[in-house]
């Protein structure tokens, strides 16, 4: 895998920190993986670390991926609240998003495309909370298009074009979005944003019957990534797409994933979600509450 990203350096810093904590020498860590010279150059950001090298180093450390992510989040996460705002907005927790919304309304502390993306997300929040019409939102998206790279080489552009597809109900960028999701390894460098983006796109794609093959490919990929990181939100979202993918393949075990998704919903959310209703109603006419109630009654037989 040739892809490398400067942000992977954060993960390498976590590797280096955990190496010291574990009392492992550099020689032991890099043995059969890379040279000491390259390792130091990666650390000093003189050379971008290839993803497969990073994965091998994490494997050698014998730690879980979540340990690495926790380090990165604690040490490197920007305190802007962007991720919290995007996450709460995506999962329809508008009350939880509100404090971040106020802080981000006039955000201009980053690159122009991230600032614009934040502005568009704030506008999207306005649309979702009925402060902006769909037409007004579409105009804002159209007039901001030039800030984003339509070859979708960065996460901001990916996020923009996924939201664009949803807002305009438009599949023009489908191929490039799909290959970006599958091939750019954003699940390593920008996992928290990646989770939201792939979930958004899967929800959109689930309604397009002629794109089922790509839906299934992305759903399967998302399921793997979610379980790699062990994050409850990722797993919650990934289970519903895993269920639908199995349903499309006539695999009766889809019910297991559907139930898990719903149990996660009760544990993670503050109120019923409508985000996945169209997917759920494609699989069953039984209400969410009845599915869970019946499952609990099964446990009491």
């Amino acid at each position: 895998m040739d892809y490398s990203n400067k942000e992977l350096t954060y993960y390498l810093e976590a590797v280096e920190s955990l190496r010291k904590e574990k009392g492992l020498s550099i020689d032991d860590l890099i043995e059969d993986v890379t040279s000491e010279r390259s390792y130091r150059r990666y650390l000093n950001q003189e050379l971008p670390i290839p993803l497969n090298t990073l994965e091998k180093l994490i494997f050698k450390l014998d730690v879980d991926f979540p340990d690495i992510l926790i380090y990165v989040l604690k040490i490197k996460q920007k305190p802007s609240g962007i991720i919290e705002f995007l996450t709460n907005t995506h999962y329809q927790e508008y009350e939880l998003a509100k404090p971040f919304y106020k802080n981000l309304k006039h955000y201009d502390k980053d690159s122009s495309n991230l600032n614009t993306l934040v502005f568009l997300y704030v506008s999207y929040y306005d649309y979702l909370t009925n402060l902006l019409s769909l037409d007004e939102l579409r105009k804002l998206f159209d007039s901001s298009k030039h800030f984003f790279d339509d070859s979708i080489s960065n996460i901001e552009s990916l996020s923009y074009f996924v939201l664009y597809a949803y807002i305009f109900d438009n599949l023009t960028y489908h191929d490039i979005i799909t290959s970006s999701l599958l091939e750019k390894n954003f699940y390593m460098s920008q996992i928290l944003l990646f989770d939201i983006i792939i979930d958004q796109y899967l929800i959109f794609l689930s309604k397009k019957s002629s794109y089922q093959d790509d839906y299934m490919k992305l759903a399967s990929f998302f399921y793997q990534v979610a379980h790699l990181w062990h994050d409850a939100y990722f797993i919650y979202s990934a289970h519903i797409h895993q269920a639908y993918q199995k349903f499309l393949n006539s695999d009766e075990t889809y019910l297991i994933d559907l139930k898990k998704h719903l149990y996660y919903e009760y544990m993670l959310l503050s109120k019923p979600s409508t985000l996945y209703l169209s997917i759920i109603s494609s699989m069953t006419s039984i209400s969410k509450e009845t599915i869970i109630k019946n499952d609990l009654l099964e446990a009491i037989q």
Binding site: Y94, K98, W229, A232, K259, M267, L269, L296, L297, I300
Partner: protein
């Protein structure tokens, strides 16, 4: 999740395990339990309303196990904790059966349990409370 591995989170300020440990210390001591008996419900309510998201690790099931140990059957919140307990158990393992659960066997009959599940509205059981964190 809810098993061997701790779940990661984007927010760390309040940790479920801390709340669980606190509740456990408070209610595992008979004298403390008696002294605080009038505020047991409030303590759990406060804890469940102030948990920041994604801490669905082992602390969560320990928390509700403690709750069921120390909450009286007649208590208003008893059925709610039973429901959370069952939901988490079932999420951990979809083959979980209440009849094999010693804790529940000591607390109530299967018929009583069935009645609680049938009569509790799931719409009031969304665990995270918006706007409280």
């Amino acid at each position: 999740m809810l098993g061997d591995k701790q779940l990661i989170t984007q927010q760390y300020d309040i940790d479920m395990n801390v709340i669980q440990s606190l509740a456990h210390s408070l209610f595992s001591n008979k004298q403390l339990k008696e002294a605080f008996s009038s505020s047991i419900d409030q303590t759990f309510l406060y804890a469940t309303e102030n948990i920041k998201k994604y801490h669905l690790d082992d602390g969560l099931i320990s928390f509700f196990t403690d709750a069921l140990h120390y909450i009286q059957k007649e208590d208003q919140s008893f059925s709610k904790y039973i429901m959370y307990y069952l939901m988490i158990k079932r999420l951990q393992n979809l083959n979980y059966q209440a009849k094999n659960d010693a804790l529940l066997q000591n607390l109530l009959t299967l018929d009583e349990l069935k009645s609680i599940v049938k009569n509790t509205s799931l719409n009031n059981l969304y665990f995270m409370k918006a706007g409280k964190i």
